[in-house]
Symmetry: C2
Subunit: 159 residues, 2 copies
DNA sequence: CTCGGTGCAAAATGTTTGCAAGTAC
DNA sequence: GTACTTGCAAACATTTTGCACCGAG
């Protein structure tokens, strides 16, 4: 594992009060070495070669923890149920990371963005879309209200 | 349901030899009426109000069928397991619709694309990415080989 | 009438939770 | 020594499969 990756691993764990265990180190190393946007199952299968006694749960939970503290991203395929979109026109998506709702937006400019020619040559492109991760207005407002109430020292915190 | 939607529903079904059943009609209508990128569960819950005896399986299978014949799209969240990506630098994704692999690519131009100001105002943007649906080189080659063999009338077709 | 569709049940796959024992700090 | 982590098992959620009956064409 590259030196800087190791450092960011150690730092992030310490920042969040997570212990450095051999399992976590091995999982992080395996994750960084993979170019395949792996699932927990992938990592588990690979890691067993060098670490035969690790459990699947540890891999699964650790990856989730890594995502929560920002050590790794989660790509399109977040483990939830399949979602359909009847709108077949070109459009773009905003995923609210809080409420997980997906919002559409239109933009002629983004519809016409140019894909690099070497990509067009190697892949047969069927569809292109800009995907934003964001916090939607409602969720922004919700967290704002929450902060207000915390400042006031509200003791009847619900939800 | 809008007239043109109904027509494209009827046409697609006929093209693919699918029967027009009241369940399918109701599901398609519900799907088109939803702005929420619904799951099968969502559609099922709504549709039961007007059609109490429909089964969840019918909804689930029908939606999948609709996606297969191109009546609806499937958005990011395709029902598979969660996938991780340790690369935290800005980059873009190509999803192969055949083998489901995800490939990264870089593009300074795409990194700098402008999000419409009204969107930036309404949402707090955390991350932006271009996502392409495509067929990767390997899968293109595979289907090419398959066609070649079909032309030759190969009788020893293996998977 | 026939074949594909529906509804139900069970299996398969993936994710989350609870808890006792182990270990980093 | 303490609190967090691990490994295991069970619960839960979602998708897929098999099959008898039903209904659109």
């Amino acid at each position: 594992m590259a030196e800087d990756q190791l450092q960011s691993f150690l730092n992030r764990c310490r920042e969040h009060g997570l212990k450095i265990t051999p399992q976590r180190t091995a999982i992080y190393e395996m994750l960084c070495g993979s170019r395949k946007h792996p699932t927990a199952e992938h990592i588990y299968a690979e890691i067993r070669n060098s670490y035969p006694n690790i459990s699947f749960d540890t891999v699964n939970r650790t990856l989730k923890t890594f995502a929560e503290i920002g050590l790794t991203g989660v790509v399109e395929g977040h483990g939830g149920p399949r979602r359909y979109d009847p709108n077949l026109e070109s459009h773009h998506h905003i995923h609210c990371v809080r409420c997980r709702e997906i919002f559409d937006f239109q933009s002629d400019e983004l519809d016409n963005l140019e894909i690099p020619p070497e990509i067009k040559q190697e892949y047969r492109i069927l569809n292109k879309r800009v995907v934003l991760n964001a916090v939607c207005r409602r969720c922004r407002r919700r967290s704002h209200i929450k902060k207000q109430r915390q400042k006031k020292g509200a003791s009847n915190e619900q939800d």
